[in-house]
């Protein structure tokens, strides 16, 4: 005799009903849906391939920042060596199998401790001494932390920039060590956002060297640029395919980091679009005041990502922390620059490595097809089960329906995303979920054949099959947990569906099917049965 306690039966019934409610909620009209209590307002989150939108995967160019970092260490070391009068024959960057290293060739062995002291001032350097050769590499741990920090900062800036465009519900996630995935539901053409993310938007203010001349040239033309230490020529576009190379002091006088606001505006004098910026009240305001005092009636340059925006002259001392960035902007460009300045600059350049955009029609088709396929799968399995096991087959169809509802409900509650393979996974769960029932019924048949009375056979068959079901499902569960732990992207999604399907199928078999059979047995205690 199979007996299920009243409490357990009620609990089972309750869980199934709850599953039913949650599974039905997304089917009600939007109006009714909004009126529902908060805890009921769950719907299936559709993956991008089902709802339409764009998916961009970006690679953070950590290498270039790493190189910059190394260069600054090199310069600092060189400066210190000069200051302390340590003589050396060469200091240079050498490519090694795992990246690059700073190599220093000394002239005197007794300088080694002093040099080591200088090098130890820079964080995260691994140093090794070989005779008069000192090699310094950036340590792995430092590099890992460095990469992590840069990627995290980039994510923050990306989020700001995308929020500024007004895109709804973007998903921005770290992927691996140096990748970032951006998902933009409803955005069919991500060109604009890609352009926004393609700019590092580092704004700097520099003085213009007065002794050197600006050089005008055609765009793309090769020009010989004179050189002077501490000065670099950067291009400024003049329109009509002309470029002016402006001699700029390398020293950064002011950066866009201390900005608190940037807005598109129209320049009163020229009638051209410009960007008005506001610096923070303490440091930024002081610095711009200093800069404008120093360069009063002299030329200075505003540089964005290695290009001169404009090189105007300070006509007055700026005391209130406000300034205007002028240049050859269209309205849209000025707007975009203002947005980028508000959102902050990226710590490293980003490269797009993967991009997918899916129109909404394709997603709708897939959902429709998926629904039909799921219904057909259910019907085929139901017919087959009833043909094979009669009334007991019908019982398994009931628990199968509960299984599907609970699967949907838990996917919704977990906020898991339903993807195309996910739909296929659900349809497949339908096929596999009846397995436990098949195991039990086959076992019962065996017991009947071995001459047992029907009722005893059911009880015994159920008990014997339990072990098998537990073992086979636990094996799958162990596998799916490990897949979840170590897998990425689609594999993780698959692991979630598989694990949920397994747990729910265990629940329906041990509680629901068991309860149904227990009730049925009680009612038909003395009848002859055919399984």
């Amino acid at each position: 005799m199979i007996v299920v306690s009243r409490f357990r039966m009620l609990l089972t019934l309750g869980i199934c009903l709850l599953g039913l409610v949650f599974a039905l909620v997304p089917l009600v009209e939007q109006k009714t849906f909004d009126k529902l209590p908060q805890f009921l307002q769950h719907t299936v989150t559709l993956g991008l391939e089902l709802r339409g939108g764009s998916h961009i995967q970006l690679e953070v160019d950590v290498k270039s920042v790493e190189k910059e970092h190394q260069e600054s260490i090199l310069n600092e070391t060189r400066r210190q060596l000069r200051q302390q009068n340590i003589r050396y024959s060469r200091i240079f960057v050498q490519t090694i199998p795992d990246g690059s290293a700073i190599v220093l060739l000394l002239k005197d062995e007794k300088d080694i401790p002093a040099v080591m002291k200088i090098l130890s001032k820079s964080d995260g350097l691994d140093t090794s001494v070989n005779g008069l050769n000192i090699t310094a590499t950036i340590s792995k741990v430092f590099l890992e932390n460095f990469t992590k920090r840069i990627v995290d900062e980039s994510i923050e800036v990306i989020r700001h920039r995308i929020d500024e465009t007004g895109t709804k519900e973007p998903t921005i996630l770290k992927q691996g060590t140096d990748r970032i995935t951006v998902q933009l539901p409803g955005v069919e053409d991500p060109a604009e956002i890609k352009r926004l993310l393609g700019k590092t938007a580092i704004l700097t203010f520099h003085g213009v060297d007065e002794e050197m001349r600006s050089i005008r040239a055609k765009m793309g033309e090769k020009v010989h640029l004179p050189s002077k230490p501490g000065v670099i020529y950067l291009p400024e576009e003049n329109g009509n395919g002309l470029v002016t190379y402006v001699p700029i002091k390398k020293k950064i006088s002011l950066t866009g980091k201390s900005l608190i606001d940037a807005q598109m505006n129209i320049d009163h004098e020229t009638g051209m679009p410009c960007v008005s910026i506001k610096f923070d009240s303490i440091e930024g305001t002081r610095k711009i005041a200093e800069l404008s005092t120093k360069y009063l009636n002299k030329q200075f340059a505003m540089v964005l990502d290695g290009k001169v925006l404009s090189a105007p002259v300070f006509h007055a001392i700026l005391n209130n922390g406000s300034a205007r960035i002028t240049g050859r902007f269209t309205m849209q460009e000025a707007n975009e620059l203002a947005l980028l300045l508000r959102a902050g600059s990226l710590p490293a350049p980003l490269n797009v490595v993967e991009e997918r955009s899916i129109g909404p029609s394709l997603g709708a088709d897939s959902i429709a097809d998926g629904k039909i396929a799921t219904v057909f799968a259910f019907c085929l399995v139901a017919i087959f089960m009833i043909l094979s096991y009669g009334l007991f087959g019908f019982f398994s169809v009931i628990s199968l329906s509960c299984n599907i509802m609970l699967l949907f409900a838990s996917l919704m509650l977990l906020g898991a995303t339903l993807t195309l393979p996910g739909i296929a996974g659900i349809a497949l769960t339908i096929g596999m979920a009846v397995d436990s029932n098949v195991l039990i019924y086959e076992r019962i048949r065996e017991e009947v054949r071995s001459g047992m009375r029907a009722m005893t056979a059911i009880a015994k068959g159920y008990k014997m099959a339990m072990m098998t079901i537990l073992d086979s499902n636990l094996t799958t569960l162990v596998g799916s947990i490990v897949l979840y732990e170590f897998g990425s992207g689609p594999i993780k999604g698959f692991a979630v569906t598989l694990a949920l399907g397994t747990i729910i199928s265990l629940f329906t078999t041990f509680s629901l099917t068991k309860s149904i059979i227990a009730v049925w047995m009680k009612r038909n205690r003395n009848k002859e049965i055919v399984v």
């Binding site: 995967q57 690679e59 691996g176 990748r179 069919e188 797009v352 490595v353 993967e354 991009e355 997918r356 955009s357 899916i358 129109g359 029609s361 394709l362 897939s366 097809d369 998926g370 039909i372 396929a373 057909f376 799968a377 085929l380 399995v381 087959f384 089960m385 094979s388 195309l420 393979p421 739909i423 296929a424 349809a427 497949l428 596999m432 397995d435 098949v438 195991l439 065996e446 014997m464 098998t468 073992d471 086979s472 499902n473 636990l474 094996t475 799958t476 162990v478 596998g479 799916s480 490990v482 897949l483 732990e485 170590f486 897998g487 990425s488 689609p490 594999i491 698959f494 598989l498 055919v530």
Partner: protein
């Protein structure tokens, strides 16, 4: 009352008797499939190789030959165009030819060639590096999952069971990879999921049979191992066939009604279920006979029967 019986009651197929032959066959199949994968390779989709996919609905029925010629002129990479459902619907694939070519420019070029009035259902561009990472991650995750399941089975059963189950899984994976290579089906991100599904089905199937073997080992202490495995296989055969049928029915529904994308995913799963069922019956279990499971009263048996297998039945 009518009942459908796929396997007649009391089947007595001699499965372990032919195990040497079948196992040899399985090994040959695995070797053949592996050589195909190694020498012919897989038909990687752009998920792995990098490139572009456009799924479009043209305003009118297009001239594909002409379109292909014009796309080839752009030198974006190898072009493949196929009808996708209706005649107006096209799937255009461009394999990325050179590293670092600008994606937006390539997409713009294709848009220009296709002209006005085209509905873009899907545009994908993938860099090859992403694919490499995908594969290495997948392999790592699957390897760990296999080890975990091996351990679980070894703890719950005996280590031999674990080894046999993993051998069967290995066989399944080899055959599916082989199928992807022999009938050059595109190997994409979803194919990995299909293989994982197959693997989880197969391990499930194998464990059910193992469970019966374990039970019979306790019940028939003196039965010869091959006899016992054969008996267990026959006892569970009906269930194996039934579950395979229900699962196949569900996947068949996916294949027939799920639309093109799901169908391409359902096909390898169908093959996988057949292969997985085959391996549970013909690979995992017969292999156990060769691995000599330690039975609790082995020593007793040796004493009473002088090392000769116990009397049969």
């Amino acid at each position: 009352m009518f009942r459908l019986h796929l396997i007649p009651y009391g089947s007595k197929f001699d499965i372990t008797g032919k195990s040497r032959f079948i196992l040899t066959l399985a090994v040959i199949m695995v070797i053949v499939c592996f050589s195909f994968v190694i020498f012919k390779g897989l038909n990687y989709g752009i998920d792995f190789k990098g490139g572009y996919i456009f799924e479009v609905r043209m305003p009118s029925v297009p001239n594909i030959t002409d379109l292909r010629a014009r796309l080839n002129e752009c030198e974006l990479g190898e072009v493949a165009i196929q009808e996708f459902g209706a005649k107006k619907d096209l799937m255009i694939k461009l394999e990325k030819s050179k590293e670092g070519s600008d994606q937006s420019i390539a997409i713009k070029k294709v848009r220009d060639i296709l002209g006005e009035g085209v509905v873009y259902k899907r545009i994908e561009t993938v860099g090859p590096k992403v694919g490499e990472e995908l594969v290495s991650n997948a392999i790592k995750a699957v390897a760990f999952a296999l080890i975990a399941m091996l351990l679980y089975i070894a703890v719950r059963f005996e280590w031999q069971f674990g080894v046999c189950a993993i051998a069967a899984l290995f066989h399944d994976c080899a055959l599916i990879f082989g199928m992807f290579s022999i009938f050059p089906m595109e190997f994409s991100e979803t194919s990995i999921t299909a293989i994982l599904l197959t693997a989880s089905y197969s391990i499930n199937d194998t464990v059910v049979i193992f469970d019966r073997i374990r039970e019979n080992l306790k019940r028939y202490k003196k039965m010869a191992l091959n006899e016992l495995v054969n008996l267990s296989l026959n006892e569970t055969l009906s269930r194996t066939a039934l579950t395979a049928t229900t699962t196949l029915l569900a996947v068949l529904a996916l294949y027939l009604f799920g639309g093109k994308v799901i169908a391409s995913f359902a096909l390898p799963i169908m093959v996988g279920i057949i292969v997985g069922t085959f391996s549970s019956i013909f690979v995992a279990s017969p292999l156990l006979v060769f691995l000599n499971i330690k039975r609790k009263d082995d020593d007793e048996l040796k004493n009473s029967d002088h090392g000769v297998p116990a009397n049969l039945g």
